[in-house]
């Protein structure tokens, strides 16, 4: 019995963080966010070559065959770097949906392409995501029509996988006729959202699951845990930056880190953040190994990290004074990253409501 990461997970964390620290300098990050619309093919391909895209793809199909806890380690590292990467959709929810919902021939066709980074699938929920905005889609035969707003990871995507209310899913290529995906200027410029409109688009239907509703929920819960892990990383980055800044900035002839009011803000952030890591790890591990606890802990991880993220995005910005309010240091990129994590796939109130329902405390 052990509550800790494995040696392999620590190595994954180290190599990914090493790569991101080397390659994703603040200047480069700002360029990707401001000019490339949150997606650069070279950046994506480099991460795919590191194995990020195929993390969750089974080994026999060319992936690493890893679990959600491994993915959570990666998500934390990506959040820490505010990396503009379609991770939650393309590298986690999509391969998971293909595992749970696609038939064998679809799997052998798509998995290798997902692992190589060639196929980048954004995942849209036609209801049941827990987020606000339009989500109204119907499938007639193989033709998909309707609209889903606020879809993650569409920038640079080759496909959109729509999870339908009945738990089936429909895959369309972005360049098919009858698909209009509009990437919107988004608060978080590292991961812009898109509105997707289908008008009779030709799809591949994924209907091989014998528990379609459960499969859809599992995909959504995995996404929630990843967004929680992203907030964990982004919050840790904001705390580290705030402590470092306070150690340099001088006022009244002292570094501001020597003022107790400033120290206490930092201590409050650290105190709320440290236990979050264990909660995220548990939720991810439950997804992999303790199915009866997976849903409730995913809801809790998403909600709790949203609340702690809010505290840290606020206090870490405050600790930077006016500098924190500017774009100069790029701190706002992390601030906005935490905000996007909070609101996508269900805000904290919604997630807590679902946790209460799932525990039978109240009717759904």
């Amino acid at each position: 019995m052990e509550f800790a990461l494995t040696e392999e997970q620590r190595l994954l964390d180290e190599s990914l963080r090493g790569y991101l620290a080397r390659e994703l300098t603040l200047d480069k990050l700002k360029t990707l966010a401001n000019e490339a619309g949150g997606f650069a093919k070279s950046h994506w391909q480099a991460l795919a070559d590191l194995g990020i895209a195929g993390l969750m793809v089974p080994e026999e199909h060319g992936g690493a065959g890893l679990g959600l806890l491994d993915a959570a380690v990666a998500a934390e590292a990506l959040g820490y770097a505010a990396a503009p990467v379609a991770f939650v959709g393309a590298a986690v929810m999509a391969p998971l949906a293909v595992s749970l919902m696609a038939n064998a021939s679809q799997q052998s066709e798509w998995f290798p392409k997902i692992a190589s980074g060639e196929m980048r699938i954004a995942v849209a929920f036609a209801g049941g995501s827990g987020q606000t905005g339009t989500a109204d889609v119907r499938l007639d035969g193989l033709k998909l029509s309707g609209r889903v707003d606020g879809v993650l990871d569409v920038a640079g995507a080759t496909h959109v996988l729509t999870i339908l209310p009945d738990g089936r899913a429909a895959l369309v290529a972005v360049d098919t006729s009858g698909v209009e995906a509009t990437v919107k200027p988004t608060l978080d410029r590292t991961r812009p959202l898109a509105d997707v409109v289908f008008s009779g688009a030709q799809t591949h239907v994924l209907d091989a699951s014998n528990d379609p509703a459960g499969a859809a929920r599992r995909v959504r819960d995995a996404g929630r845990v990843m967004l929680a892990a992203d907030t964990l990383g982004a919050s840790q980055a904001m705390l580290d930056k705030a402590v470092a800044y306070a150690g340099e900035r001088v006022q009244f002839g002292r570094v501001i880190a020597s003022f107790q009011a400033v120290k206490h803000m930092a201590a409050e952030m650290a105190t709320d953040l440290e236990p979050c890591r264990a909660l995220v790890w548990f939720a991810a591990h439950a997804h992999d190994a303790i199915p009866e606890e997976a849903h409730v802990s995913a809801c809790h991880a998403k909600a709790h990290l949203a609340e702690v993220g809010r505290l840290i995005q606020t206090k870490a910005t405050e600790m930077h004074g006016g500098m924190g309010f500017t774009e100069l240091m790029g701190l706002e990129l992390w601030y906005k990253r935490i905000s996007l994590d909070r609101h996508t796939l269900g805000g904290p109130e919604r997630c807590r409501h679902e946790a209460a329902v799932a525990q039978g405390w109240v009717k759904g």
């Binding site: 201590a267 264990a278 807590r352």
Partner: protein, 408 residues
């Protein structure tokens, strides 16, 4: 990560359940640190130690069960007892704080004489740290211990000493090296409360109960071999004890039980006929706290894993007291809010009068006591100093301004 419920754990769980089923009626009501164990409690404790449900990892030679530390086993035992609502043994400063301190830095003779009787509940300890002039600034302790032949002769005063009115022994922080700098002049002594020259005066707290005391020392003679580590090492030993105190105060196991008790309360409490659990604003407060409790529960499992491997968890460990006590206070705060006006009849019973508090009184008492835990063991502000300085490497506090701001 390996939380798999292997055969070994299932067996333990079944064992614990069977034990509880068999002995439920013999078990005393769950009690905290605030009462002297009676004969029933002592018998119960003896049984728990024998089965390994208390003092599980204390070596056999000192009277414990001698199991290897195992997070899952500890969690299973805590959970089953907490579900059944019965006492998982005596919770005391001796067991949670002094015993691990002696295991870490005591002499073989000290371990042999004190650990066994302490874990069996036969010796109750109190903690003689705080003084009128040494609270948060603990190193400012002025109570003197002067070595005369084979004895330290102790003179001075302690305050806020929990359970001193019934404790058998005290671990005491006093100044034995007045010529050395503040932190290096202290020693940590163990002494019997029956030693002549000790005067204990109970103080009534806001909970309406007398749970702590003033303790006066007049020429109290403590055998010199009852020092833990050496002369001048008192600050290091005191901090070892504080480390365990802070872990105990932040212990997550009791909090999950509270979440479920509050849920039950919300199911039976109504406003204009509507159950509180059916009102989203009430329910949301509880579910939100449940998320915090889960985080602390898994955080604790992570810390225990590291402790079992001999890793010092650093920052992760330093946050536990602040996190746990603040969260505990919010939990009991929610409970008294759920009771609302119907829970305002307050009828506390003192430790000594043998009466039992009704549930609302008990929650109000817990809520106030939880505030005491925020202050005691190093206040939340002191925890934040420690976390920022030792955990985050921020600059230490400048030397104090010695002038009081209001002159009399």
């Amino acid at each position: 990560m390996d939380l798999s419920y292997s055969e070994k754990y299932r067996t333990l769980q079944n064992e614990v359940r069977a034990f509880i089923g068999l002995h439920k009626d013999a078990s005393p009501k769950a009690v905290g640190v605030r009462r002297k164990p009676d004969a029933k409690m002592l018998e119960w404790q003896r049984l728990l130690v024998e089965k390994g449900y208390a003092a599980r990892t204390i070596p056999r030679q000192f009277g414990g069960f001698g199991a290897e530390p195992d997070v899952m086993e500890a969690a299973i035992i805590a959970e089953e007892f907490s579900k059944a609502g019965i006492a998982a043994g005596i919770m005391s400063q001796g067991i949670s704080m002094l015993v691990p301190t002696l295991i870490e830095v005591g002499t073989e003779a000290q371990r042999e004489s004190f650990i066994g009787p302490t874990i069996r509940g036969e010796i109750i300890w109190c903690q003689g740290y705080s003084e009128p002039g040494a609270g948060s600034d603990l190193a400012n302790v002025q109570t003197k211990g002067v070595l005369e032949g084979e004895h330290f002769v102790v003179n001075g005063q302690k305050i806020w000493t929990s359970s001193a009115h019934y404790a058998d022994w005290m671990f005491l922080l006093c100044r034995t090296e007045p010529d050395k700098p503040k932190h290096q002049g202290l020693s940590y002594l163990l002494l019997s409360m029956k030693t002549p020259g000790i005067d204990v005066r109970p103080l009534r707290t806001m909970t309406g109960k007398a749970t702590f005391n003033e303790v006066f020392f007049t020429d109290v003679r403590v055998p010199a071999h009852q020092i833990v580590m050496g002369r001048g090492d008192g600050w290091a030993v005191a901090n070892t004890t504080l480390k365990y105190e802070r872990m105990m105060l932040g212990d997550a196991n009791k909090f999950m039980h509270r979440v479920h008790r509050i849920r039950e309360l919300m199911e039976t409490t109504r406003i204009d006929g509507v159950r509180l659990i059916d009102m989203p604003e009430w329910r949301d407060r509880l579910v939100r706290l449940q998320g915090e409790v889960m985080a602390s529960k898994y955080h604790q499992m992570r810390l225990l894993t590291e402790a079992a491997k001999g890793i010092d968890a650093g920052l992760k460990r330093l946050v536990v007291k602040l996190y746990g006590t603040e969260m505990g206070y919010r939990l009991s705060g929610l409970a008294v809010d759920v009771y609302g006006a119907a829970g305002l009849a307050f009828d506390p019973h003192d430790d000594m009068d043998g009466g039992t508090d009704d549930d609302a009184t008990a929650w109000h008492t817990d809520h106030m006591y939880d505030l005491g835990l925020i202050i005691g063991g190093g206040s939340s502000q002191i925890q934040k100093n420690i976390i920022s300085e030792r955990g985050l490497g921020m600059p230490r506090e400048p030397k104090a301004a010695l002038q009081a701001t209001t002159k009399s």
